[in-house]
Symmetry: C2
C-alpha cells in the first residue's frame, strides 16, 4: 500500500497520489495517510527529540524520500503569550503564533517548503504562482533553493518590498493589472507554452499539507491541548483547510482528544466573501469593482474552494467576520506597542478578537490563538529597484518576453 493517497473533500472519491489537487467533481483532493500505521510507529512524546522545524512531522507530509526535502529553515515558530492583551480584553489566554519568523518572513514558507519539495520529487523544473505577494516570494525562495525556475504574477498594487523579494530570489516577475484571479488566469493560459506548473492555492496537494503544520505545531506547543478559538486571517483559505485537517489527523492519531477549536476567519470588510457566505448561506464572490480592500493576502474575492472553508468554519462552530481598514491599522499599532512586528493580515486577527470579545462571542474564560502571518516591514509603500513588467493578459506577457528576449 502507498504511504499516502488523496481523497476528494466533496465527493469522497479516493485516488492514487498525484500532483493534481482538483477532483473531477470540482472538489479539493486532500492527502490521506495511513494514520494507524503512523500511530504505531511514532509516539508523540518522541517528537521532542526532532529538529525544531516543520519536518518534525515528516510522516504527515506527502514527500516520499527525505532527500527530496527542500528546506530553508521553516516552521516551529514561537507561540508568544500576550498577558497585557489578556488583561486589557479580559480573556484568560491569548497567544500569538509568530509566523513572520519563517525564512521568507511569512507563513507562506511552510506551504512552499512542502510544495517545492513535492515538485522536485516529481521532476518539475518550472513553477508559477498567482499571489497577493507573500506566496510569490516564498515560491521564488524555495524554487531558488531547489534550483528550479519560477514565475511570479502579482497584482499591480502588491507591496514593493514583496516584489523586490521575488526579484531577489530570481523569479521571472510580472504585475497584473487586476486581482489575484486575473494572475491565475494568465498562468492557466500560459502553462502549456511556458512549461509552468501552476502552484496556485489548492491546485496541487502540497500547500495545504505544509500549512497543516501550523495546526500540528500549535497542538504540540500547547502540550496537546488546543485553544478554544483560533483566529486566522483568511485569503484563499488553505491555512484554514490545513489546520482543520491537522486536527482531524491528530484526533485519529489519538494525540489529542476532546473538543476542537472554533475556527474564525477574518477578512477585510472591502472583500469578505467568507463572512458574507456565513451570513447569507450562499457563496457569491464580489465583482472586481466591488472589491475595495487593501492589497494584502486577505484580498481573495473568489477562493478556489470557499465552500470547503465555510464548511469547516461551520463544523467547528466558528465564524467569519470582516474588519475595517481602520480597525486593522489600529490593531497593527497596538501590536507594535506590544513589541510585535505585525502585518495587516496578522493585525486583522487582533481586530477580529476585539470585535468578537465585545460581541460576547468570545468569553472571559476562553483561550485564543492569533496568527501573525507576516512582518510589518513588508507593507510600506515602496517601489522596487528594478522595473517590473505590467501585463493584463498572457498575450501581453508573451509580447513582453518577445520584446526583451527574456523569459
Amino acid at each position: 500500500m502507498d504511504r499516502f493517497w488523496q481523497k476528494c473533500a466533496r465527493c469522497a472519491r479516493t485516488v492514487r497520489f498525484s500532483l493534481n489537487g482538483r477532483c473531477a467533481c470540482g472538489g479539493t483532493l486532500l492527502v490521506q495517510y495511513d494514520l494507524e500505521r503512523i500511530r504505531a510507529a511514532v509516539r508523540k512524546s518522541a517528537l521532542k527529540d526532532r529538529p525544531a522545524a516543520m519536518w518534525r512531522y515528516k510522516e504527515l507530509l506527502p514527500i516520499a524520500r527525505e532527500r527530496s526535502i527542500v528546506t530553508l529553515g521553516e516552521g516551529w515558530t514561537p507561540l508568544l503569550r500576550m498577558k497585557p492583551l489578556e488583561r486589557k480584553l479580559g480573556i484568560r489566554y491569548i497567544g500569538v503564533k509568530r509566523e513572520e519568523q519563517n525564512p521568507t518572513g511569512s507563513f507562506k514558507s511552510r506551504g512552499f517548503a512542502s510544495t517545492i519539495s513535492l515538485l522536485k520529487e516529481h521532476g518539475i523544473d518550472y513553477v508559477a504562482v498567482p499571489s497577493n505577494g507573500n506566496a510569490a516570494s516564498a515560491m521564488a525562495a524555495y524554487a531558488a533553493r531547489a534550483g528550479m525556475r519560477a514565475a511570479a504574477i502579482v497584482p499591480r498594487d502588491c507591496p514593493g518590498i514583496i516584489i523586490e523579494g521575488c526579484l531577489r530570489y530570481g523569479a521571472a516577475t510580472y504585475v497584473v493589472d487586476g486581482l489575484i484571479h486575473d494572475a491565475s488566469r494568465i498562468i492557466e493560459e500560459g502553462a502549456a507554452e511556458q512549461g509552468w506548473f501552476h502552484a496556485g492555492t489548492l491546485k496541487e496537494p502540497g500547500r495545504v499539507e505544509g500549512k497543516k503544520t501550523m495546526g500540528l505545531e500549535l497542538a504540540e506547543q500547547l502540550d496537546w491541548k488546543l485553544p478554544d478559538v483560533i483566529i486566522y486571517p483568511t485569503g484563499g483559505g488553505s491555512g484554514m483547510i490545513g489546520m482543520w485537517k491537522a486536527f482531524q489527523e491528530l484526533l485519529e492519531l489519538k494525540w489529542i482528544g476532546g473538543k476542537l477549536p472554533r475556527m474564525v476567519s477574518v477578512q477585510e470588510a472591502g472583500c469578505q466573501p467568507l463572512a458574507d457566505a456565513m451570513r447569507t448561506g450562499a457563496f457569491v464572490p464580489p465583482a472586481a469593482e466591488e472589491v475595495t480592500s487593501k492589497p494584502t493576502g486577505l484580498r481573495v474575492p473568489n477562493p478556489p474552494d470557499g465552500e470547503l472553508v465555510v464548511h469547516i468554519i461551520k463544523q467547528s462552530q466558528g465564524t467569519a467576520i470582516g474588519v475595517t481598514t481602520e480597525q486593522i491599522d489600529e490593531a497593527q499599532k497596538q501590536m507594535g506597542r506590544l513589541g510585535i512586528s505585525s502585518s495587516p493580515e496578522g493585525a486583522a486577527t487582533l481586530a477580529g478578537l476585539v470585535q468578537l470579545r465585545e460581541a460576547g462571542w468570545i468569553r472571559p474564560g476562553e483561550s485564543v490563538v492569533l496568527f501573525n502571518t507576516s512582518h510589518a516591514d513588508k507593507y510600506v509603500s515602496w517601489t522596487p529597484s528594478a522595473a517590473v513588467p505590467v501585463v493584463r493578459s498572457y498575450s501581453e506577457l508573451r509580447q513582453h518576453q518577445q520584446q526583451t528576449g527574456g523569459s
Copy 2:
C-alpha cells in the same frame, strides 16, 4: 556565593555583579558564572528537552529570577547548510546561521532580550541606545514588551524601514547628523536629565551575554563540534566577544573539546578599523570624514573595546578583512539566488568567504559558518511615514522636546 559576578577582560579584576559594563581601568567587565556548579547540575544531553529559544541556556545568562525574563521568541535560529556554495567555492561545509529569523528580524533580538530582562530585574524604566539601526528597533521592541520606555538615536542615513520599526514599537526616536558615536555622546549628555539608562555596546553586561547564545547554539546545532572558521560581520564587536566567551565557557563545562574556530571579522572597506588594527598592530579609529562605507551595522569607526576584539581574533588565529560595497552587493545577489534574504552585513560574510578562499586562507577540507544577521528587506531606500526629528547634539534634542512638549 552569587550565581554570577563580573571580571575585567583587561585587568582581571573581579567585582560583584552590577549593570555597569566598564571597569575603572577602561576594560570590559564580562559576566562570570560558577561553571563547576553548572557542570554538575546540567547535562548537555538534557538541553534537547528545553524550549527552542536562547533561554535554553538560562544558567549561562545573568538573569537571577525566571520571572524577569522578557521574551519575544528569540534564538534557536536555523543553521542552514549551503551545498551549492560548497560546490562553487570548493569547501567541505558551509552553513548560514539565519539570525534574520529572530523576532525583530535581526540578531539584535538576542542582546536586547537579555539586556531588557536584566534592566527589568534591576528596576530600570527608561532605556536608550545609540545604534546603526537594528539594535535600536530591537531595544524598542523588547522595551515595549517589558512595558519600559525607550529612546533610540540613529544616524541620519539609517534605513527608513528600521526607523519605522523603532516608531512602531513606540520608542522616542531621533536621527543624529553624524555617526553612531555621535548618537552615543548625546545619550551620555542627556542620561541624567532624561533618566536614560545607556544600553550602548558594552556599556552594560547583558548584550554580550545575549549574543553569546549564538555561539552556544552553534555548538549544540553542530552536535558540539565547532566549525573551523566563523565569519562574522563586525561593528561594535559584542557578537565576537560573546561567541568567544561562549566557547571558553563550553570548554570549561567540558561540553566541547579540542580546537576552537578561527574567528573572522568582516567589515566594509570604507570603515574597517579592525582590519587596519590587525595589519598595523595599533588600533586607530578613522576620522568621521574618512568613513565612506554604507549605513549598515558594520559602520562603527570606534568600537568601545576594539582591543578586546582584536585580541580575540588573534587568539583564535583568525583575521579581520574589509570587503568593498560592490562585493557586498554581489554577495547579496548570490545569497538571494540561493533563497536567502540577506542583509548587507550578512552578505559581507559571503564576500569575505570568497576573498579568504581565493587567498587560500580557507582550505577545501574546512567547515565554515556565516552569520546572516538581518533581513534584506530592511535596507531598501525608504522614508519613514512619520517625521523623525534630526538633532546634532543633546541640546538640540532638548530643544525639540520643549518645542513639541514631547519626550
